[in-house]
């Protein structure tokens, strides 16, 4: 079966949990930006956490299904329309062959997810179905969807392994899409390049997310931060924020020129010549992905123990979603 794309939306891509193991050769992990919302779409559609979903950014697609199926829409708040009638997010939606699905104007957040029974069945490339647009690999022909695409959907007899699919996501478990967020970071690896005052500016200011935000990274506006004076090392650029090229951690924060911090996200390059002054902890990467432009953001420092505890908490939340043993 397939979804026929009638209108593609702004940047609708196929994503799964990501493409791991190739970062060392410059291929980013990719995968759904808001991983938890994507996983919830799979849980509702009767899949495993590994199936590919559609990630819709700001403006969703309009599509038609050619078979009866089950879908679920999770993530940023948006009206879901089936044949013109409004349906809910965060719950199972049964579609009949020929049904047309469309979306209203986003009411907050940035990305929503469409899970479908059987998953989006594009070829697996380097272990993942995720679209890496900059590299033109994975997903549907390595690119965002276009009008006229026939997006293959997997066998609806499906991989759920006999597990009873969820009917809806408990409201208490749903992610929130807020206009003010606090994001936990660990200082480093290049925090020594900022002055004490520069670090204080980073950690005590309120940063506003600009519209310059995509799968690669998110740019924030706010005050200027102060760098340590230095002698330009051989191989580094002339700006004080430049370093001799190094590997970039996923979630690392750069501040080119001392203005407008950029947080690297799932499709970012794996290395380059900007100092990474702090790194967003893995548990808060989804939170960044949910932020709409204009979101007031604070970066608060945590240590390794707290970061690992937050990661464990995320894991246990996901385990509850899938029930014991899933």
């Amino acid at each position: 079966m397939a979804f026929e794309i009638l209108e593609p939306g702004l940047a609708t891509t196929v994503q799964d949990r990501g493409r791991f193991g190739y970062y060392n050769v410059g291929i980013p992990q990719g995968g759904a930006m808001d991983g938890l919302s994507a996983e919830m779409a799979n849980a509702l559609a009767g899949n495993t956490p590994a199936e590919a979903v559609l990630e819709c950014t700001y403006m969703g697609p309009r599509f038609r299904t050619d078979r009866d199926t089950v879908i679920a829409v999770t993530g940023a708040p948006v009206d879901v329309k089936v044949n013109g009638g409004t349906r809910g997010q965060w719950s199972r939606l049964e579609l009949a062959a020929g049904d047309e699905v469309a979306f209203g104007i986003l009411q907050g957040g940035t990305r929503f997810y469409i899970g479908v029974r059987g998953g989006i069945d594009v070829p697996v490339v380097l272990g993942s179905r995720s679209t890496y647009g900059l590299g033109s690999i994975g997903g549907f022909d390595g690119r965002p969807l276009r009008a006229g695409d026939l997006v293959p959907v997997g066998d609806s007899a499906g991989p759920s392994g006999g597990r009873e699919p969820l009917q809806e996501i408990d409201p208490g478990l749903r992610p929130r899409f807020e206009k003010e967020v606090t994001v936990r970071v660990m200082p480093g690896l290049y925090d020594h390049r900022l002055t004490a005052r520069g670090m204080e500016t980073l950690l005590n200011s309120i940063w506003t997310l600009t519209p310059v935000a995509d799968r690669t990274g998110l740019r924030y506006s706010g005050p200027e931060v102060e760098w340590q004076p230095r002698q330009q090392p051989f191989g580094a650029g002339s700006d004080p924020s430049n370093i001799v090229d190094a590997g970039y951690a996923v979630g690392s924060i750069q501040i080119p020129g001392g203005k407008e911090p950029i947080v690297l996200h799932r499709d970012a390059v794996s290395g380059g010549g900007y100092a990474m002054v702090a790194t967003v902890i893995s548990a808060d990467m989804d939170l960044l992905a949910r932020s709409a432009p204009g979101t007031k953001t604070r970066f608060t420092p945590v240590g390794m123990e707290e970061a690992l505890a937050a990661r464990a908490e995320q894991r246990s939340l996901r385990a509850r979603l899938w029930g014991a043993g899933a």
């Binding site: 702004l10 700001y58 104007i105 986003l106 009411q107 519209p211 935000a213 995509d214 204009g294």
Partner: protein, 79 residues
């Protein structure tokens, strides 16, 4: 009166290029589907089109202004 809403967040432009004329001006007639401006986000320019025919009443967002999804960009008095 019909409100034309921005479906996207980003920067709104009334002109197709910095040295070009605006797509439409207040008082101009627009047809259904006619472009009234573009919104730039994620390095893409998406055209904003009128879904009614009529006369441009007023722009609520200035050229190069910031918009959020659902913001009224322009009102059109329907013909």
């Amino acid at each position: 009166m019909a409100d034309i809403l921005s479906p996207l967040p980003g920067i709104f432009y009334r002109k197709p290029g910095p040295d070009k004329e605006p797509y439409v001006n207040e008082g101009d007639h627009v047809d259904v589907g006619q472009t009234v401006g573009v919104v730039e986000v994620m390095k893409q320019f998406s055209e904003v089109r009128s879904d009614v025919a009529g006369t441009i009443d007023r722009f609520h967002i200035e050229d190069s202004g910031t918009v959020n999804p659902g913001d009224v960009i322009v009102t059109v008095s329907e013909a």
